[in-house]
């Protein structure tokens, strides 16, 4: 055991940190208040190679590991969770399924543009009536003219309207549950796709989330990912990796909140001394720091496990559950340290609380994480 970042990991952390401080931090407040998709930041991150972290070098990516991916997402989320989730969804659930399950031809077609950030990716699994119960999809893919015709509607699709392609799960054998699902790559230019207006949300205001409809949407057979019936497996593997990203996002939110709470506790004076001198504030700071530290180690351990090629479904769920619950607790507690100022939208703390809530819900609610964990625990001897 040697728990030090490699020089390569240190380097990507510095790169992501500099980007976050110089570019993301000054924009974060406006992105939230104007509900603006930060295309400028996506472009700048693309130029730095941050959209191709997990893509193999032969397809134009950086070919880095999941721990590096977690580091990049955390650094960005310290200042802007909206920007972090755009890159996270693009990288993990959007692009990685193609890298993992695509044919050589499919990888050559799609990965270079995704790695360079020329196109963004999105992931379309959830439906209005199929959230946690993701195997019971109503969107169908029917064989027609040597290809497939997709019909149905997907809900809560991050990066919708900005993505150049969508990884879509649809039922090729309706009624067969998980075994009847297949995965497809559908190009945004496909005339059969309609993207709804972005939803108004509690937080993550810079991240566009919409409904995506497929109406007699023709998809060639060559755009199917994996075999027919592999779709649920593709989706679950994508989500395992996605959960590392969401955990990293949660840690970034919590670390940013802790940083601000620490600075405030040192400066804010009441009763003639900094509030950091009072034990009640010290206790909050210690509890926050411990949670952030535990969440980060857990996430890194899971990322390292994924990179070793071991099964990591249970670990990804534990990490996601722990990191996101911690982020909710830490952001709320940090807001409390700032008192009335924490409640003002003039400062980033209130935004962090709003953004953190999403982390407990998407990429599998934390209740579903517990179901996954318990299933894995009770399966093993």
């Amino acid at each position: 055991m040697e728990l030090a970042l490699s020089p390569e990991q240190e380097e990507i952390r510095r790169l992501a940190h500099d980007f976050a401080v110089k570019e993301v931090k000054p924009r974060a407040q406006a992105i939230d208040q104007d509900h603006e998709f930060p295309q400028d930041l996506v472009d700048k991150a693309s130029q730095l190679g941050l959209l191709g972290i997990l893509v193999p070098e032969e397809y134009g990516g950086a070919g880095l590991d999941h721990l590096s991916f977690a580091i990049v997402i955390e650094e960005i989320a310290r200042f802007c969770a909206s920007t972090a989730v755009i890159i996270d969804v693009h990288t993990s659930v959007g692009t990685e399924p193609i890298a993992l399950f695509g044919t050589a031809e499919q990888k050559r077609r799609w990965l270079p543009d995704l790695a360079s950030g020329k196109r963004l990716a999105a992931f379309a699994l959830t439906e209005a009536d199929a959230g946690s119960d993701a195997a019971h999809l109503k969107t169908t893919a029917t064989r027609r003219d040597g290809g497939y015709e997709l019909n149905g509607a997907k809900m809560f699709i991050t990066n919708a309207g900005h993505a150049g392609l969508y990884v879509v799960m649809a039922a090729t054998a309706p009624g067969k549950g998980a075994e009847g699902i297949s995965a497809f790559v559908v190009e945004a230019a496909n005339p059969g796709i309609t993207v709804g207006p972005p939803f108004e949300k509690m937080g993550l205001n810079g991240s566009a989330i919409s409904e995506v409809r497929f109406d007699r949407c023709q998809v060639p057979s060559t755009d199917r990912l994996g075999m027919e019936g592999d779709g649920f497996k593709v989706a679950m593997r994508a989500l395992d990796s996605g959960r590392i990203g969401i955990s990293a996002q949660a840690i970034g939110l919590a670390q940013g909140a802790l940083d601000d709470a620490l600075a405030y506790a040192r400066e804010r004076k009441q009763f003639g001394k900094p509030i950091g001198d009072f034990q009640t504030i010290q206790n909050k700071i210690a509890d926050m720091a411990v949670k952030v530290s535990a969440a980060r180690w857990l996430t890194w351990a899971t990322a390292a496990r994924c990179d070793r090629g071991e099964a990591f479904t249970k670990e990804a769920s534990m990490t996601k559950l722990f990191a996101t619950d911690s982020a909710m607790e830490v952001t709320l507690e940090a807001l409390q340290v700032l008192g009335g100022y924490g409640y003002l939208e003039e400062y980033p703390m209130a935004r962090r609380v709003r953004d953190a809530k999403a982390c407990q819900i998407y990429e599998g609610t934390n209740q579903i994480q517990r179901v996954v964990i318990a299933r894995e625990l009770l399966r093993a001897s």
Partner: protein, 382 residues
């Protein structure tokens, strides 16, 4: 970043696990009930070189790696916390010698401890100075080649069975700065003036003797002064940086032991015609317990790795691991009792003992309130 244990670490962990499963687990309930120090377990650990784990080979030990020690403590505590204290205290009592001793002191005192021929203890706490360790009143006055020790210590784990005890005392009687007036001494139990007082009756860790120690004109050879005179407080704080992860490992082990019992019970216990593990209410309890355990595990191992790599900021990583793991162990063992329902409350099952044993991990080696204070102080300083 490599999260995998080395082959040697894995082997030691498995060896300790298997040995304790076979030989210690069957003794755990009886050790708790009798409240007697388990000399048989001490002998077992000695025979298997487990007591040598805290010591490097040059002093007769088998490892000296902080992480390896944590793994061993974890595996013992999984079955019997009292027994894990035999190893943890052997480490704690010898740490001041390892950290601050001269070559001659190390050569004299460490090998018998590493071989398990002698037991160590660590005497810092007094009735009037617990968290505020600097306020101690035990005093050592220099007379020629000796220091004369007078005073008393309390809550000394293993104090009644130890042969070699590191005692902290004031050497500057008028000083008002703990950083200057405290010194550490190696005291051997055979010296005249050393007396063991009453053993405490406790909520848990009942087979681990918690003793009062009295020193009456006890003459210590000046050669047994550890480090510089007046630098004892700094040494005590350094020792805590190294020993707190041990308590964290103990807490981790207790929680794992309780979880294993709870999971087994959930699969076997049937109500409403099916195993209670089929109910989501139970599943979520198990998921939360396991998640908390895994979070603690990485923190605990990381704190050991930080010590082994001599990182500069071990104070925070050690306190963090201790605080999180011990609070976690309290929650997990309480949940385990709950999951077993009425049976969990009975002495027939081990989880009520584990819950009683878990409580101490939140208190000793610095209460968790002190850990929070330490962590916040370090963070607010930087």
């Amino acid at each position: 970043m490599n999260f995998q244990l080395s082959d040697e670490q894995r082997q030691i962990k498995e060896m300790v696990h298997d040995l304790c499963l076979e030989r210690v687990e069957p003794r755990a309930a009886e050790i708790d009930r009798s409240g007697e120090f388990p000399w048989d377990v001490k002998k077992l650990f000695q025979e298997h070189d487990i007591l040598g784990i805290p010591f490097p080979p040059e002093y007769g030990g088998v490892s000296g790696s902080a992480l390896t020690l944590l793994l061993a403590v974890e595996e013992i505590a999984r079955f019997c916390v009292t027994s894990s204290l035999i190893l943890a205290v052997q480490s704690l009592g010898s740490l001041p010698i390892t950290l601050a001793g001269t070559q001659s002191q190390k050569r004299t005192f460490l090998p018998p401890l590493a071989r398990g021929e002698k037991l160590a203890a660590y005497a810092l706490t007094e009735p009037g100075s617990g968290s505020d360790a600097g306020g101690m009143r035990t005093r050592a006055v220099r007379h020629g080649d000796t220091y004369v020790l007078n005073g008393s210590k309390t809550f000394i784990t293993g104090g009644s069975v130890a042969d070699t005890i590191v005692v902290f005392a004031r050497t500057d009687q008028d000083g008002d700065s703990p950083a200057r007036h405290i010194s550490a001494f190696i005291v051997e139990k055979d010296l005249p003036g050393f007396r063991v007082g009453k053993l405490e009756k406790k909520l848990g860790i009942r087979g681990s003797p918690t003793a009062q120690l009295f020193f009456e004109d006890l003459a210590i050879p000046a050669a047994n002064l550890l480090g510089q005179e007046g630098k004892g407080f700094q040494l005590a704080m350094r020792v805590l940086d190294h020993s707190r992860p041990g308590i964290a490992a103990q807490a981790l082990g207790i929680a794992e032991g309780a979880f294993d019992v709870a999971r087994r019970y959930a699969r076997e216990r049937r109500q409403f015609g099916r195993p209670i593990a089929d109910f989501e209410g139970i599943q979520f309890m198990l998921a939360d317990m396991a998640t908390q355990i895994e979070a603690a595990r990485v923190l605990v191992y990381a704190s050991g790795d930080a010590l082994d790599r001599h990182l500069p900021d071990v104070t925070v990583s050690s306190s963090t691991a201790k605080l999180f793991a011990s609070d976690m162990a309290m929650r997990v063992t309480t949940d385990a009792v709950q999951l077993l329902g009425g049976y969990g409350y009975l002495r027939d099952f081990p989880v009520e003992r584990m819950m009683r044993d878990a409580k101490i991990t939140q208190i000793y080696e610095g209460t968790n309130e002190i850990q929070r204070f330490v962590i916040a102080r370090e963070l607010l300083r930087t």
